[in-house]
Symmetry: D2
Subunit: 346 residues, 4 copies
């Protein structure tokens, strides 16, 4: 099939590198004489016909910028028949021959379903700052999140040391502890708590006391937003558990952990919730490079009609893998990295 017009959209949460990927899609397509239409706000733009041609002028200067020039949303293209019909109409109207969908687990699942159910010729590009997508060694956005979190931990170190305090740093990571483990190791954390390994508050306090006995009156604890206490030593009330689970704004696991530590050890403890600073802003060189390579690969896959697949990184190589691989499971923190993190506990 010859592809003359290629759509591209970004869905789900934003991640540094989205613009780099968009630019790469456009520039690679240009080489082949393929016209690219940018679809605004995820699937929403396809439903409501909000599209614009992307040219070398519209993508000029976007490489180092966070976010996505197309905007994004979490709209589901399969929600109702009406929505499906509108997409079909706009697909025809804009004479799309294929679509590159850049997104995380939710967006790629929808893309796969669109491909399977209706036969849309779709190629995926994986993206999540959490790095928990299967099928690819790394996703762009993750290295930037790691970098921001590590720099924040570096900064907190000096205050912790000067004031003999415990600093609890809550980082992102819903289902997996990649950011916590990565930034914890890179930032020199003394304790790292991840969702994959429920923690014992007694062990946490023991480590803090051990450090004190070594003359280390400060400590840095990095905790993933979804880390939780082991059932044997659960110190959260049902209401607090709910709060952590829902990621409400008024105090997650970081604050609850800090309160418990102060109660049990008497050491002054402070909390920093890094929050959205981890997912925005200038992407690292690594993320720009990865996003660019994935964008180029996605267009090559479109030309090779590898639909229902996504571009992925395996070792040093760009490969094509079925989207199904990516969305069928969550890539949990691997044992080697967790074991490495534990080397520095205490």
């Amino acid at each position: 099939m010859e592809v003359r017009t290629l759509g591209v959209l970004t869905g789900g949460g934003d991640a540094p590198g989205l613009n780099a990927a968009l630019r790469a899609v456009v520039r690679r397509a240009m080489q082949y004489g393929i016209r690219v239409l940018g679809i605004h706000q995820g699937w929403n733009g396809l439903i409501h016909g909000r599209v614009e041609p992307l040219t070398r002028y519209s993508i000029s200067g976007i490489l180092p910028r966070g976010g996505t020039i197309l905007g994004t949303s979490r709209v589901n293209p399969l929600e109702t028949d009406e929505v499906a019909e509108r997409i079909r109409a706009n697909w025809r109207k804009y004479e799309l021959d294929a679509l590159v969908v850049i997104g995380g687990e939710g967006t790629l699942s929808a893309a796969l379903e669109m491909h399977r159910r209706y036969g849309y010729p779709i190629v995926g590009v994986p993206k999540t700052i959490d790095n928990d997508l299967c099928g690819t060694d790394m996703t762009f956005g993750f290295d930037t999140a790691l970098s921001v979190a590590t720099e924040a931990i570096d900064r907190l170190h000096t205050t912790a040391e000067s004031h003999d305090r415990v600093m609890v740093v809550e980082v992102m990571g819903r289902h997996a502890g990649w950011i916590a483990a990565g930034a914890g190791i890179a930032g020199g954390a003394d304790i790292i708590l991840v969702p994959e390994h429920p923690f014992r508050i007694s062990e946490v306090c023991q480590i803090l006391n051990h450090r004190k006995s070594l003359g280390r009156f400060f400590s840095i604890i990095v905790v993933a937003e979804d880390a939780h206490p082991h059932p044997d030593e659960d110190f959260l009330t049902p209401e607090e558990k709910e709060r952590v689970f829902q990621h409400t704004r008024l105090g997650g696991i970081g604050h609850l952990l800090a309160r418990k530590i102060e109660e049990l050890t008497g050491i002054e403890t402070r909390v920093t919730v890094l929050g959205y600073t981890q997912r925005g802003g200038v992407p690292t060189a690594y993320d720009r490079l990865l996003a660019t390579r994935l964008g180029v690969k996605a267009v090559d896959m479109v030309r090779a009609s590898e639909f229902g697949c996504m571009a992925a990184l395996q070792g040093m190589r760009m490969v094509s893998v079925p989207i199904e691989q990516a969305v069928s499971c969550i890539k949990r923190l691997d044992d080697e990295l967790y074991e490495t993190a534990r080397v520095f506990f205490g």
Copy 2:
């Protein structure tokens, strides 16, 4: 009076630049053949005799590091007669001829009282990330706080734009809005709320709605931790007010403001509390330079017997001002800067 042994201590909260100031004190003193004793953990070290000689070796490499190699504390040297007596004994024991005290309002007030009541030959060096000390144009630590907060706002911008959200960024600033106004202007905030000017929630929502009408579906609000609603439109419960006042960990003004905005406008609103990342880590070039100049000046003042005074920046020059000037009032955000901030509201 010939000074042969000079003590130096850092007190109060840590601030980027403390090590640069310590290094400058030691290197300048070396030029005059003065021996420097570093006193650990603020006044505490003088009470308990925790001192060490500072040499060019012990200060090597500390210039770019945050925190303070001496540690710090908020201990009051005037608390009891016993404490005063211990300090006197240690002063004699270590044969101190003069003392350089690096600290903020609290530490400098104590230094002044020690000088006045007991005649200790003390020279001050002002420090606060809040920039709210009188008698000096700028304090070190402030520029680094500004830089960290601005970079965070830059990062939040991209997420706000990609998701059409309101982002509330809570920054430090107990009594004065310098960080909020400075970082808000430098980061391109759409609304800036400072302690000096109680805000009207109705005005905030009006600006957000006005932006929406211009096609701006995202907004950045920078709020100082001690900003508060105008009495006419107070939306805080007494309990919430207490919470903000006490800077408890479970949700300050940022969170309360965000909740109210969502309630009144229906726009998705997220909060980031920058917290301790603003006060630690590698100091900016500006802060290193300022701290170095102040440290050098302080030693020159010791040699000139300008005790009860502190080194200060006025315009481009290093000057000596009575410590009293610095501690008698709080330097509030000036009108020109607030007016500049308001230019960009909306």
Copy 3:
């Protein structure tokens, strides 16, 4: 005089903060209902009629970006009568009521002459990364240059230490040693050479040897591009002198100094010329704030008809000073800062 249409241009070398200043001019003017026309490529745009209206949309997002969206040039508006005539015609054509000129010594001199000779209502905004303009305490661009140079010196430190080398770092600074002294102090240089104080190579080598005797086998030397040897100990050939003077690309003072040091001391010496990285890229928070305040002030001065004057920083305040003050002399490195730099020699 009521101002309805205000032109704005940027001239001379680019400096981080130019876009922040442009944005401030536009937003302040909007408050007063003044229309702003952006003139492209300095005076060139006025000669050839390359102008565009600047609106809140065209300036959106430019605050953190280096360079200038208007472009810049070093074209002289007073070069010929023909040029003067074309400017006059375009001034009328675009119905300009006043002009804000953002630039350094050259651009502001031309602006002053245009005001004096032909009565153009012009307000200046000073800009130079070299910080050598009189009449203002600081110019925007300088803090960013300082920051970039200091970070580079930080990086070079670790290689110098690991390899026991002398590292020569050549920084910008044609007529004045502000960047060299500032970044040298902030970066912990062991020797700082500035145009204001011709250096003796014998003193340089003596310091290096002294350091060696203290067990310091590495050293960092920061040298301004226009620093030069003292006539008593001139080691440059006439041809080399010419090369330094013309800032040709093949080896300036940094390389010549390094070669001489190796020759005289036998210590392995490496050179890094920071070059253009110092003048581009994301402006620091300080520079964005300063540029914004100057831009706002310039519009206020236009409304107050303070023509022939420029906005300036004095202490903490924005003031209006005659442009003549800025262009009549070069602000050389002050003695206090140079004396501070020397504290750390050796």
Copy 4:
């Protein structure tokens, strides 16, 4: 074999992450009750008996620092029989049971030879900012070099754009174009020249002229220090070729290329040689993480008696590979990455 005392040394050029690797070796060894002796200045310390025990105190705080606390050198342990004898004596004197050697091609080659010829139980850890070692997907130091070079290119972009100039950026890379290609792609370069693909100056100029015809009056060219013209279009004199080959300080390929471009196109062209800033300073989170994992793995390999091997990264996993693999060839830039770079030419 039970290992009670483990030596560790760092050799060759310094790279960000060396300290992280050292810290990891020490902390992992501590877990097993193994004592670690740090050997100063590469093989030199083993020859002259300059060693010190590394404890959790001596490695505290070194994680984020560039360089190596042990120092480094390029001394060859196999140079003479006398040197070999001294090493043997010191090995016995310090009761070393095994040695971890952290270094690049030269240092690892020597380590392998020491293992083969004399049976020393040695485990390697690969390191080079150039990323040109075989047997491992990535070496630490490379990501930091990439990051520094990319940030510099970001900064140069704004000046290039504001002044309509060609900017030539010379980056490191003796035998391979990894840094040039990586930073060139991540920084948005318009032309990237690498040692693996001799360039034609006519093609370079053609691209620049094509860009001009598209209204792009500025261009960024990234050139590796060992890139060279194609024999068909060689514009270098024999003397210049020699200069580039020897990496003398007075003008390498960057300057020669710039001169030729100005000559052929008449476009103003400027050069920046990034030099040593690429190899020093705070390592990125990625490099700290990689170095830490390799250090931990190396100790595990010591315990498993996998001597003559080195720790390596393959995909996401830490593996053990024969050192021979790493030193038998140079890992040249792969085709996919070069092809990706070319997508953005012009």
